[in-house]
Symmetry: C2
Subunit: 519 residues, 2 copies
């Protein structure tokens, strides 16, 4: 069987066989895939490097057509795709169908972004030959892609954040060839999606190195990030995994950017007036958000922060009741299940359990846990600030707004911070917004952060350790910018300029002339 | 005497006295300044952190007024400033006067950039309450500043790339408080400029932590970069220095971005038709660019690449003659002088000297050196690819365009690549442009890269080791973006939104609505 899609061919491997397992049963799924060798990584990187100049100089509309062709090919995979994702991930069929929809919509969204063209960042400062004391030369700037990108997909979104997910799509849109290291939890899914991308690549007449897939253990990923031809890394996964890749990237002769989306407890702040007025509704919404996808969302609400008092007790009763009504559900992998059970056990020793979902009826199911603790104890135990991946949350009871502020101040960086507020809370909330901005990539009011819209104004990122680079988002059109760098062209004659910088603006890109948007 | 400007006061120090020396004579300049203690670094970081929320929420026009006030205060320093810079740097008076002009113009440029407002990156995706299957919430994005920034100024531009130079100005413009570690080569200059910035700060009624200066040895810089309240670093200097700070930043619990501009030989490619038609003119221009500021520009042309032949011999005769006519001039510091002399000595053992400037007539003067070597030997000796800081250049004779390409391919990242071309050369040049884009932040035709325009389309950056982060520029309006990160606000009521995101757009910022520029 195949060790990967390398330089346009499904390459046979002779390494140790790797298998995905059925999430629900732990049963090994055939076929197994042999791990790629270091030599395969070499070949893939050389092919990506060779394909770079072709991909990056494609007209924006041609790259857009490639993304749209990928979406079509994914749809063409039909039920075979849905079947294997459900088996490998344990996620419900309806969820996977809607994730497929999101994945294809995301491809089409970036196609639109490419055609619109402001990603190219074109700026022209025309020559001022008569300026005193010195003339100004003609200066033109555009963003160019960084080079081949290594992508490590997430276990929790086997389609939308994996082989043809956000990192791959935004890197391809930027003009960067992509080499995906297949996630060990969904090898079958990865191979199917890679077939779809490859079919689209062939249909568009693009070189083989534009998109490749490698199957392997950690060593393959390390070799990929260490290869001098790889110029950036996209990763979604654990803090340990992300930091390991960041260390490899930093130790290279030429360090490269790593965009690792890692760890977040996504605090939910419930303010007094909202708690009094809508405690029951918030509790129900919270229980649903906590257990969505068995709590395996990056944006899962793992921390509740509220002022102590009778309204909070009532809220807790409602939340516990809502949670108790929810069944246990399958986790993504046996390993994730074990880690969840251990994490919950450990927390049980420090915080009080005040709500639990219905107990598991199958070996790899998890049930929700709601813990509570007072602010002083939370502040004294930094390990309570860490994420338990799965449907576990911790309520922190605060004595007053000052203590609430201290709790937020003690948190590490987050993807989201959700605020439940009524008008009477606004003054308290307004005072907290600057602190929350320092802590999170997205602030939201009267909702939960689990839904991440693919849009222009979305940020799915945040200060460390939510991501390794707070200047970035992995969802939305701004995700493309992660894979670009600026180049200035001074006094180049029109014929030597890249097409997108020529006077006649053949791709009709938005331009800034002398710093002002051209109308 | 003072160990720095810390939390609004010139703080007396008791550490070992540090002195600048006269560049021309090596004579110690009084007064000396005591090194700051770790405790001073602590206080400065706390003050910067406390000032952050005020600075970042100022109206853009108020931050612009602060930058303009700094420019005014620098002008007010008058000849006292010019006198100390000349003594400390050994650079000619006229050059320092024009560098002061550049520094003030740069402050005013960023004031204009702030008022224009596209730096804020405002994006609004309005709610779609009736969208099926799910409604879209109101999403708004703006760029927020990272937090306090540590700035390490350059020896070679004691005004334009130092205490109130490009890094400081772009960080303040972004809304980040700045703590400058004064460069040991120009302590007197640093103190004067810090006084000017502080006067402007007071006049604008801003908190003390907005701008601070620390004097000290390496330990002070290390402590500054390691402090958890510091969120980014700007540095211009040696590769060793930049990489040391990058290591400190990467080893923090929360790693932070380091923008280090380090090392570049700035290849100059002379193509055959240009060489035949204008060899003499290019040679003269080259000799001037090489010796500008005693060759101590980041963009100094340290490498010439051309095709072997009689035209190149003639060019070399002209270049040598032009260089021989130029006097030796003072270097910035005795240490830099020693390193230059050593670097030239070492190179003498490997490459042939084919032109030298007039010999020094004073102890810390340097004279220009032009070496030559053939491409095969250059490719075999990677240490020849490294920068000798000062007026030394190496001509690489290539047998054909393929060898020229190999030489460029072997180079590390560069700030600039200059191309001397005539129309008959265009085909060869066009084939090389994609490779050059991978290697350099700025490509320029028929000139030398020494002049770096403060403009919208400028890039003063480039792949490693030209900088530690190829996604950035340290000159031009894009430099501001280095100190920003995106935050998304979802469903916030208008009153809770930051002013710049409110519906009525009180600062008249350019906005993108649903991805399209608002007209």
């Amino acid at each position: 069987m195949y060790a990967g899609l390398i330089d346009g061919a499904w390459t046979n491997g002779t390494g140790a066989l790797l298998h995905s397992v059925e999430a629900a049963t732990g049963t090994v799924i055939d076929p197994g895939y042999p791990a790629a060798h270091e030599r395969d990584v070499e070949i893939a990187c050389a092919a990506a490097d060779a394909a770079f100049d072709v991909l990056r100089e494609l007209a924006p509309s041609a790259r857009a057509a490639f993304l749209e062709a990928i979406a079509e090919q994914i749809v063409t995979l039909g039920d075979a795709l849905i079947d294997i994702v459900v088996r490998e991930s344990g996620l419900p069929r309806g969820r996977i169908e809607s994730e497929r929809g999101r994945t294809c919509a995301q491809l089409r969204f970036f196609a639109d972004v490419l055609r619109e063209g402001s990603w190219a960042g074109v700026r022209i400062d025309p020559a001022l030959p008569h300026r005193a004391p010195l003339p100004r030369p003609d200066l033109r700037l555009r963003m160019v892609p960084l080079g081949p990108v290594a992508v490590f997909g997430a276990s929790n979104f086997p389609l939308a954040f994996s082989v043809a997910g956000g990192d791959t799509v935004s890197a391809l849109a930027a003009g960067c060839p992509v080499i995906v290291k297949a996630h060990s939890a969904h090898l079958g899914t990865s191979v199917l999606i890679a077939r779809a991308v490859d079919a689209a690549r062939r249909a568009c007449g693009l070189p083989a190195g534009v998109f490749q897939l490698l199957i392997g253990e950690r060593a393959v990923g390390t070799a990929l990030v260490a290869d001098p031809r790889v110029k950036a890394v996209g990763f979604t996964g654990s803090r340990t995994g992300g930091l390991a890749l960041a260390r490899v990237a930093a130790a290279r002769r030429e360090p490269i950017p790593v965009y690792a989306e890692m760890s977040s407890v996504n605090p939910v702040l419930i303010f007094p007036a909202a708690l009094a007025a809508r405690g029951h509704t918030i509790a129900t919404g919270f229980a649903q958000a906590l257990t969505l996808g068995t709590g395996q969302f990056c944006t899962n609400p793992g921390l509740l922060i509220a002022l102590d008092g009778p309204d909070l007790d009532t809220f807790l009763d409602h939340a516990s009741a809502a949670i108790e009504a929810l069944p246990a559900t399958t986790m993504l992998t046996p390993g994730i299940h074990t880690a969840y059970v251990k994490g919950v056990e450990k927390r049980r020793g420090v915080a009080r359990v005040c709500g639990q979902g219905a107990p598991p009826t199958a070996p790899f199911e998890a049930h929700a846990h709601l813990f509570e603790i007072d602010a002083a104890a939370f502040l004294a135990e930094p390990h309570l600030h860490e994420e338990i991946f799965g449907p576990a949350a911790l309520l922190v009871r605060c004595g007053d707004v000052a203590e609430m502020t201290a709790v937020i101040g003690a948190l590490e960086g987050q993807l989201t911070a959700a605020l439940h507020v009524d008008e009477e809370d606004y003054a308290d909330v307004a005072a907290l917004v600057p602190l929350l901005e320092r802590k999170a990539g997205r602030l939201l009011v009267n909702g939960f952060g689990t839904g991440v819209e693919v849009a222009h104004a979305m940020v799915h990122g945040g200060p460390f350790p939510a991501t390794s680079d707070s200047r970035s988002t992995s969802v939305g059109s701004l995700a493309l910018d992660r894979f670009l760098r600026p180049v200035c062209y001074q006094s180049l004659p029109d014929t030597l300029l890249p097409a997108m910088l020529r006077d006649d603006n053949p791709f009709a890109l938005p331009r800034r002339i002398d710093g002002k948007a051209e109308l």
